[in-house]
Amino acid sequence: MRNTSLLLRATGLLAVAGLGATVWLGIWVTPPDEHMGNLVRLLYIHPPAAWVAFLAYGVAFLASLLYLWPRTRDLRLDRVAGASAEVGVVFTALTLLSGSIWGRPTWGTWWTWDPLLTTTALLFVLYLGYLALRSVPGDPVVRARRSAIGALIAFIDVPIVYFSVDWWRSLHQPPTVDLATRQMYVHGSMAWTMLLGFVAMTLLYCWLVGHRYRLATLVAIAESEGAEVALAERRAEARSDRLVGAGLGRLADVPSSPALEPAGAARAETMVETLGSEWRPEGGAGLAGSSAS
């Protein structure tokens, strides 16, 4: 546990250092582009963010698939999938935002129905749905299975969306905006900065997912512990109910007769012991089931 937190901290420091170096190189060291001028500096942010988004969905999909496979079923995988998808949605938003900011001055429009753009936008909505599905309260095991199937359905849709939008554009009309600018030459300090951007963003992803996973584990513990406490309380409640039913409640209800109380309490204890063996709290099975996981 200690090693893990150290590793996580180191990843976080490296990510921050890497991002800082990317910003420094990206803004002060690298030259402006011949055609794009200073706009080219988005190159160090936008593609790495997009890469992390796709990486995150890939990881979420793999974890969900492994969760559905009976031999590797583990609630930890479910938490990895949730953590990864959540970070993925944030980075998809960043990708769309930075792409839009880039597109406005270079293509003259905030948005174009390019296959890649449209797929990314649909991906964003798809995984928002997935996160909404995850946030539905319920038994952790049920929720994990539901989410894993949801992730599977969403991921299968990605290539279908891409191909459909691609054909749509190519059959419909040639793209109004030439995306050939994507294939620009990147060399020298720019290439290195871009590479650093990729590494830094990936580290940032690992760090965020690590923390998100840690939080999810804590939440899961809190949920199961919470159920445990609730169960104990309910048991105690049901115990006093039983005493009232057995006619001993009157003794317990009248504390003003101290002479009677110890004897009454003692009788109540034996009563509980005899009852306890056969007695089960209502709804206890469900609670116990959820707390066991």
Partner: protein
Amino acid sequence: MWRDALLVAGKDLRIELRSKVAVNQVVPFAVIVVLLFGLAIGQSVSPSGQALPGALANAGILRGAAAGLFWVAVLLSTLLAVQRSFAVESADGARDGLRLSGLDPGGIFLGKCGATMVLLVALEAVLALVAALVYDVHPAAGALLVATCILATAGLVFVGTTYGMLSSGTRVRETLLPLLFFPVGAPVLLAATKAFDAGLSGTPGAATSWIELLAVFAVAYGAVGTVAFGPLLEDG
């Protein structure tokens, strides 16, 4: 599995025959959507063609967008049909009955999908008639249109029913289902619209790849749904 599917589909269709919810509510809803599109885009256009000169351009837009508008209406109606399909199971512990019936879960899935598909294809037939009238389009390649309807509806219903099952146990199902369903259904909307465009413009050859895409979509999600339905039913 297939026998179970037939049983479940028969049950759902019988319920529809007696309750007539799809006929009385979903079909009118789809027609209203089609008319609303007409109001939004092609103002002052009447089916008889007595349009004001200024509105002629709008009539053209409406005619050009007819296929897409039709499929958006179908997409919205699919959501209602799927919700209805699971509302039937939520009352009177019907879901527990289904779980205890010993029917094959894959069969239950295919049966529920089959019943919803039958209703939706019937709805599409009515809707196509209305849309052809009010949007003033003349279908050319009938077989292509029918094939598109069946494949696209199958794909939508498979995804919708899987997601319907996924969200049916939750308290937020009314709002969750559209959020899950519409993004996944987007490629179907696109492909079906393109195939319809080809059919309406009399160039059915352009629709081949779209029909293939619809078929791949339907098969993929049919398979996922059939496999996933069992575990989801148990969870309820």
